[in-house]
């Protein structure tokens, strides 16, 4: 049995459904992210785990105990908020020790534990400061320490880094991950930033409109998206309008140019309109891959220099296509207006149905990998 289980969890506010049909099993020590656009129900789900919202239906089980009806202050769960939510009237040390004080631990033990946590977050000299005397990043580290002080069963973080600037965000997220590994604490991390979710998680739960779209490792979610939504939400993606030419051998056509995909299109028939999804980094200039490849020709519309990467936009006739080149001072980048041919392997192609239904050649292998 998994350490944390959400079984058929559903939450509605009046007539509107915020979360539906939510099933998730998290192993002890695992780091799981909830990823999805604004309003998709990430916070609501997290708050149900914490006990701040009561599920309309379904069960939540932590460490074998059904906590669905347990109030939040008896769940022993550490929570970190986007707003830090440090108690303004208490010092850093008192904030961290708050939970232990409530639990009536002896003063010596509290002091020792607070010192230990201050060391873990690299803020030993800050114990006597007040929250308003700290930077945002420091406040959030204190909030993390405060949540960890009670040795919670679960650590829940709701967009903890959203209020911080980019540099601190990257370093603090690494710090969070290291502390999590060090303590082996089971963690759920809510974010709408896919890069953050990829960098941190053992597994990602991709959500959309109150439903789970896919659960998988960052590798699986990125490379083998289970639905059209996941494919377009995670990472950047080219979506080309295409028509199935021969479903049995996996042949489609993009504006008259034939494209071979790696597997037969079992869920489509010849003549169906589909979308061909291509990651920009899997497309190369023609001539750089020698095996049997797909080719598409078009006109260079725009070239964006992004430092280590040069992003090129190509216009076919109705479709547009981005791809990335590594920066190379010896090589002139493609010029806008010039004709260009790009190539990509059949394995790089995902075929997505017109509706939201999962329909691409890799879904079988994704299921195996999961």
């Amino acid at each position: 049995m998994a350490f944390l289980e959400l079984v058929n969890v559903r939450k509605s506010f009046g007539a509107s459904v915020a979360v539906e049909n939510f099933n998730l099993a998290v192993e002890r020590g695992e780091f799981v992210s909830f990823l999805g656009p604004s309003g998709c129900g990430k916070t609501t789900t997290l708050r149900m785990v914490a006990g701040f919202e009561k599920p309309t239906a379904g069960r939540i089980v932590i460490d074998g105990v059904d906590v669905t009806d347990t109030p939040p202050n008896r769940r022993n769960i550490g929570m970190v908020f986007q707003s830090y939510a440090l108690f303004p009237n208490m010092t850093v040390a008192d904030n961290i020790g708050f939970g232990l004080k409530i639990a009536r631990r002896p003063a010596d033990e509290i002091r020792a534990r607070v010192e230990e946590l201050l060391r873990i977050i690299h803020m030993s000299e800050f114990g006597r400061r007040y929250p308003y005397q700290l930077s945002g990043g420091q406040q959030q580290r204190v909030a993390l320490a405060r949540a960890l002080a009670i040795q919670p069963k679960l650590l829940l973080l709701d967009e903890p880094l959203s209020a911080l600037d980019a540099k601190i965000r990257a370093s603090l997220r690494q710090e969070i991950r290291e502390i999590q590994r060090q303590l082996g604490i089971t963690t759920i991390y809510v974010t709408h930033d896919q890069e953050e979710a990829m960098a941190l998680s053992d597994r990602i739960v991709v959500m959309s409109r109150g439903r789970i779209e896919q659960i998988g490792t960052p590798f699986e979610v990125y490379n083998f998206p289970a639905t059209r939504f996941v494919a377009s939400f995670v990472g950047t993606l080219n979506l080309l309008q295409a028509t199935v030419v021969d479903a049995a051998i996996g042949l489609v056509s993009v504006e008259g140019q034939s494209i071979r995909v790696a597997r037969p299109l079992t869920q489509h028939r010849s003549g169906d309109a589909v979308s061909l999804a291509l990651r920009p980094e899997l497309i190369a200039l023609d001539g750089q891959i020698n095996s049997e490849v797909n080719r598409l020709s078009g006109t260079v519309e725009d070239v964006t220099f992004l430092g280590s990467i040069v992003r090129v936009r190509v216009r076919l006739s109705a479709n547009k296509l981005h791809f990335d080149l590594f920066n190379n001072p010896q090589l002139r980048p493609p010029q806008p207006g010039s004709l260009i041919t790009v190539q990509f392997a059949p394995e790089a192609c995902l075929v997505l149905g017109e509706d939201a239904s999962p329909a691409h050649p890799m879904s079988a292998s994704a299921a195996q990998a999961a």
Binding site: P72, N73, R74, I77, M79, F87, P88, N89, F98
Partner: protein, 259 residues
């Protein structure tokens, strides 16, 4: 130059409006003995045991009022903001009632409602009724001060943070909410204090030995002493407020900061 002139001009006019009567009262209070300036009237007032008793009585009443209304209003305002935000307009309407309902009406309805209960047939009971009335009078000031104070902190997240750390409602109120609205509470308390110290109607109708009725009685029977008393009560009220502020300073300094 002219730009600096007008603000100062109006400031001076405003200051005179307050200070001239105060000075005139003070000046008058020194003329108890013909042909010389003296503190004789002050000595008379301070030597009157009734003065000390009534001042002390009102002082205690004011403190009790502040404590009780804080205990009632902070949890109420907190709960309304946290869970019943739609009730807020209703409560705001209630806060206006003490301005609309005259004190005479208030005290008679209270006396009628509680007649033939221990509240009206004993000295202590009437005192409780008096405090109850003052709590109602102070409601607008206290509620609005606390409500504003609560809005300046993120009570929602603070509550949930405390809950996740194991705190129950009592602990949250005592350790998180009260300390953080302390400053706001103090400002409401000052106004309450000043109101209670000078209140006449309710105290008189409930036949309480309060400071307001004492001042009134003195004013109708003496010439110089009422002025001396006015100056003394002015000074004492300010001193009491300063004392409350000073006592509160410790807690205040801790939550101060750029928020």
């Amino acid at each position: 130059m002219l730009k600096r002139f007008w603000p100062w001009f109006w400031f001076t006019v405003g200051a005179m409006y307050f200070l001239v009567p105060l000075y005139a009262t003070f000046d008058f209070s020194l003329r108890a003995r013909r042909g010389e300036l003296s503190f004789a009237a002050y000595a008379n007032v301070l030597n009157d045991i009734k003065f000390v008793e009534s001042f002390w009585f009102s002082f205690q009443t004011a403190l009790a009022t502040i404590v009780i209304s804080a205990l009632v209003i902070v949890p109420t305002a907190y709960w309304v903001q946290l869970r019943l935000p739609r009730l807020r307009p209703v409560i705001e309407f209630f806060t206006l009632l003490p301005f609309v309902v005259p004190a005479v009406v208030l005290v008679f309805s209270l006396a009628r409602t509680y007649s033939r209960t221990p509240l009206t047939d004993s000295r202590e009971g009437l005192w409780v009724l008096l405090i109850g009335s003052y709590v109602i009078l102070s409601f607008p000031y206290m509620y609005r001060a606390v409500d504003t104070g609560l809005r300046s902190i993120n009570i929602h997240d603070l509550t949930e943070a405390a809950q996740s750390l194991g705190a129950g409602w009592f602990t949250i109120l005592a350790r998180v909410i009260f300390p953080n609205v302390y400053t706001a509470l103090l400002s409401g308390a000052f106004i309450t204090f000043a109101i209670v110290m000078g209140e006449f109607t309710i105290a008189a109708l409930l036949a309480q030995p309060a400071f307001g009725p004492y001042m009134n009685r003195l004013a109708s029977s003496r010439v110089y002493e009422p002025s001396a008393l006015a100056i003394i009560s002015f000074a004492l009220t300010w001193a009491a407020i300063a004392a409350i502020q000073w006592i509160g300073q410790g807690a205040q300094a801790r939550v101060a900061g750029p928020r």
